[in-house]
């Protein structure tokens, strides 16, 4: 199952766990699985059917272009990080 690194400001919802494994073939499914285990986390990560503005996702170190539709594999590592703009 994919490993999700929980952002520090959301660890209050995971009992302090830094990373968890949950099922899912996409980032959206992973977040749904997180929500089932840690109610309230979906609302912190998403706004409607997309990631919150200012948050982006990396899968295996690669910045996802598809947001919640980004594919993840059972070995994947998922991070939610600040969206960065360049100059």
């Amino acid at each position: 199952m994919p490993t999700v690194w929980i952002p520090p400001l959301l660890r209050e919802l995971t009992g302090g766990q830094e990373r968890v494994t949950v099922p899912g073939r996409t980032v959206g499914e992973v977040i749904q699985a997180l929500e089932e285990r840690f109610p309230g986390i979906q609302e912190r990560l998403c706004q409607g059917n997309r990631l919150r503005p200012g948050i982006t996702v990396t899968v295996d170190g690669v910045l996802g272009a598809k947001g919640l539709r980004e594919a993840v594999s059972p070995e994947s590592e998922v991070h939610f990080v600040p969206a960065i703009g360049g100059g």
């Binding site: 520090p8 400001l9 503005p53 200012g54 170190g61 703009g85 360049g86 100059g87």
Partner: protein, 777 residues
């Protein structure tokens, strides 16, 4: 100089890379240094920049700006201005459509539409000195200016708040009554100037610091600085009688301008065409819209005349850009072996009048070069009564690195370690985890450290009084983004390349080179041009060091597609399958049949439909950039003046498509970093008036201030690009301020913790050190 672990560099007389194209590096075109397609027009003055647009019946727009940093607008009376002969339209915020408070990504990062609208024309409050209040269109610029003086504004003055720490205080004046602190989806319960808080954390800080033999904790202060592009903002808009809108503007992102105008004016993008002019610098400062929506409003209200608006330097400095001032605290510990055991960072970035500082980027940059087990970074985005912060070359990176790299230098001093050896012990490499979590793919950070270590500069004796040598490293994420392009095969074998990425730093050439390489034809056969938003599919901005990477990838794909189409057509002619045709060195062959690229193009032109291919990309394989710099300085202890004696910058550039332009990017980044480090700052009085809104008083470096800047191009190819390209434009601005601070310390023994390190500040630090030395023990 170029260092490629896999290839031997070709050096010129002065040791510089003179290009490895022509097959010497395995490529025909990449690595060579051809002339830029836009060069002749630019050196002869024929290139058309934003202010060069001239249309029949043009009106001239001017903006009335706030003389106060923080005030409530009680009333605006424009009647006298409207009555002035020659005035055709006056607009205020009342002319802007009401937009909801909604955060949206408009191709230049997420922004609240209401803030975007309010920054164009203040609705109920002015939030910084220079905040636009009203705009006039008249038959001449002089009449427009005269009309501005006739507009009466009644203000209720409010106390300003001018730095992040003051703005975070419990009793600070509040800029936005409805602003609440966002902590990843949790909204605070009281009015505040702190727009958001972010955190990166892992490991055990307490244990990490307990394991340290040396701990350094310092705080750092930096002022806002401007991008300092030479060409001021300029835009012309025509709201035609049929409802179609055309905007000519100097911008890094015509598609982003289209999005922003559409959203803020509530007009479908299908009615807006944005034509980018040549651009005289941007550095992140020409992504936000300032003039375009106002010019559109004025054009409509004035009866569908074109309206041209050009800022002067005073306006540019007061109301566009700058990047954030900041307060940063860094605590770092290391053991006797030189391993960093823990790092803790607090960063508060000034967002200016509206949320959106680059604190997220700064938090990603500040510890990025290092492999850390125990860390915590807290970042705060804080509104203050200054202009809304805009992106500036590696946004948030220079001030972040100034703090962390200075602390690292002090750790090295306390441990008695060479600062490059310390970096080799702690430096990140492939497979290591970034401070913000993700794992690095192939990166070349350690190679940049080794390149400086091996450079004659680092080992050359530095003799003489008050001289010192400093080093610092830097990181930048780089970006991919969306790009689109089209290529057409002409009958003479030339290829027309149409792209939508404005060319700021030579990207017409670097993208055309990738198409030429992909096609196997000479660079000179590719004719690139940058087009408007109706003539090519969507492109993200030229920014984030993405264009040579992403639009270059599009060019590579175009080449592959065009070649495939030519093979298909020739296969039809030669009555065979495309796979049976051999293509090498610009020659198509099959059995006895042979056609050079030009002959093939002519044949295809004669025998069927034209050949044109298009492609769009949204690449993921972005390769981050690292750099390590070394600088020698001499400090005059009587005046505090810093003279830079020598500067060398090593950077992981992935693959240098056009080495001269890569070197140019490094030179430019270093020059801007030196300006930020030594001279540049926004100076405000206590009421929040900007006191140095001209290039006489806002001191960017000139050629007289800068040394020759030596470059070392380390080529650790990015596996996410067919030619190994990484973005190169931003990371070179990250290390200079820290490298200078470390050099100044070694020259005169004072640790500088404020930017810029101006002569006055250095003198004060020297005097403080001398006074401390005289104090009885």
């Amino acid at each position: 100089m170029s260092v490629d672990p896999q290839r031997d560099p070709v050096k010129g007389q002065n040791g510089q890379n003179v290009g490895q194209g022509g097959g010497k590096n395995g490529y025909r075109v990449i690595g060579s240094r051809p002339l830029r397609p836009d060069g002749t027009d630019k050196v002869t003055g024929r290139a058309r920049f934003g202010a060069d647009i001239r249309l029949p019946d043009t009106l001239y727009g001017k903006i009335l700006r706030s003389p106060h940093a923080h005030a409530r607008i009680r009333a605006i009376d424009t009647s006298r201005a409207q009555a002035l002969p020659g005035v055709k339209a006056v607009v205020t915020a009342a002319d802007l459509p009401s937009v909801e408070s909604k955060i949206q990504d408009l191709g230049e990062g997420a922004i609240n539409l209401r803030y975007l609208s309010d920054n164009l024309l203040a609705h109920s409050k002015v939030l910084y000195h220079g905040h636009p209040i009203a705009a006039v269109a008249a038959t001449s610029p002089h009449i427009a200016e005269e009309a501005l003086a006739l507009i009466q504004v009644e203000y209720e003055l409010l106390p300003p708040v001018l730095d992040a720490r003051s703005a975070m205080a419990e009793d600070a004046p509040i800029l936005h009554e409805d602003l609440r602190t966002d902590e990843m989806g949790v909204r605070g319960d009281r009015p505040t100037n702190v727009a958001s808080h972010l955190r990166h954390q892992r490991g055990d800080l307490e244990a990490g610091f307990a394991a340290a033999d040396v701990i350094v904790e310092r705080e750092f202060f930096t002022s806002p600085v401007h991008q300092g592009y030479i060409e001021p903002q300029a835009a012309t808009a025509l709201y035609n009688a049929d409802g179609q809108i055309t905007i000519w503007t100097t911008t890094q992102g015509p598609f982003s301008v289209r999005e922003q105008v559409a959203q803020v004016l509530q007009i479908p993008i299908g009615r807006i065409r944005v034509i980018p002019t040549e651009i005289g610098g941007g550095f992140g400062g020409k992504i936000n819209v300032y003039l375009e929506p106002v010019a559109v409003l004025l054009s409509r209200k004035a009866g569908h005349h074109p309206v041209k608006m050009v800022m002067n330097r005073d306006e540019v400095l007061k109301a566009t850009g700058p990047t954030s001032g900041s307060y940063i605290r860094v605590k770092m510990g290391a053991n006797k072996e030189g391993k960093i055991t823990a790092a803790q960072v607090f960063m508060a970035y000034e967002a200016g009048a509206y949320p959106g500082s680059p604190v997220g980027a700064g938090a990603g940059v500040i510890l990025a070069p290092y492999r850390l087990e125990n860390l915590q970074i807290d970042g705060y985005d804080v509104v203050v009564n200054k202009p809304r912060a805009a992106a500036y070359r590696a946004p948030g990176g220079t001030n972040a690195a100034f703090a962390s790299e200075t602390v690292i230098d002090e750790l090295c001093e306390k441990l008695g370690m060479d600062p490059l050896e310390f970096r080799l012990i702690n430096g990140a490499k492939e497979g290591d985890r970034r401070a913000d979590g993700p794992v690095y793919a192939r990166i070349g950070y350690l190679e940049t450290v080794k390149a400086i270590q091996a450079h004659p500069h680092y080992t050359a004796p530095l003799e003489g009084k008050h001289r010192g040598r400093g080093v610092a490293s830097g990181f930048w994420f780089n970006w991919g983004g969306r790009s689109s392009a089209t290529a057409s095969l002409n009958a003479d074998g030339s290829v027309s390349l149409v792209e939508g990425s404005p060319d700021i730093g030579g990207t017409r050439a670097s993208i055309a080179m990738q198409l030429a390489e992909s096609l196997g034809i000479p660079y000179e056969q590719v004719k690139p041009q940058v087009t408007d938003t109706d003539s090519v599919a969507y492109n993200d901005v030229t920014g984030g060091s993405r264009t040579t990477f992403a639009t270059g990838l599009a060019a590579y794909e175009l080449g592959q597609k065009l070649k495939a189409e030519m093979l298909r057509r020739l296969a039809d002619l030669w009555e065979t399958e495309p796979e049976a045709i051999h293509y090498e060195d610009g020659v198509f062959s099959h059995g006895e049949e042979r056609l050079g690229f030009q002959e093939a193009a002519a044949k295809i032109h004669e025998t069927g439909e034209p050949v044109m291919v298009s492609t769009t990309v949204y690449p993921k394989g972005v390769g981050p950039g690292f750099a390590t710099h070394v600088v020698d300085v001499e400090v005059d202890p009587e005046t505090g003046k810093v003279t830079i004696l020598r500067y060398t910058a090593a950077q992981d550039v992935g693959k240098a498509i056009h080495p001269s332009y890569v070197e140019g990017q490094i030179h430019g980044g270093v020059a801007q970093g030196i300006g930020w480090g030594l001279n540049e700052e926004y100076v405000y009085d206590q009421e929040g008036h900007l006191l140095n809104a001209s290039f006489l008083d806002y001191r960017i470096p000139t050629a007289l201030d800068l040394p020759m800047i030596d470059t070392v191009l380390v080529e650790a190819p990015n596996p996410g690009h067919p030619y190994g390209v990484r973005g190169v434009g931003e990371v070179p601005i990250v290390p200079p301020a820290a490298a200078l601070a470390n050099a100044i310390y070694r020259a005169v023994g004072v640790r500088m913790n404020v930017l810029p390190m101006s002569p006055a500040r250095i003198l004060e630090a020297i005097w403080a050190k001398e006074a401390q030395a005289k104090e009885p023990v």
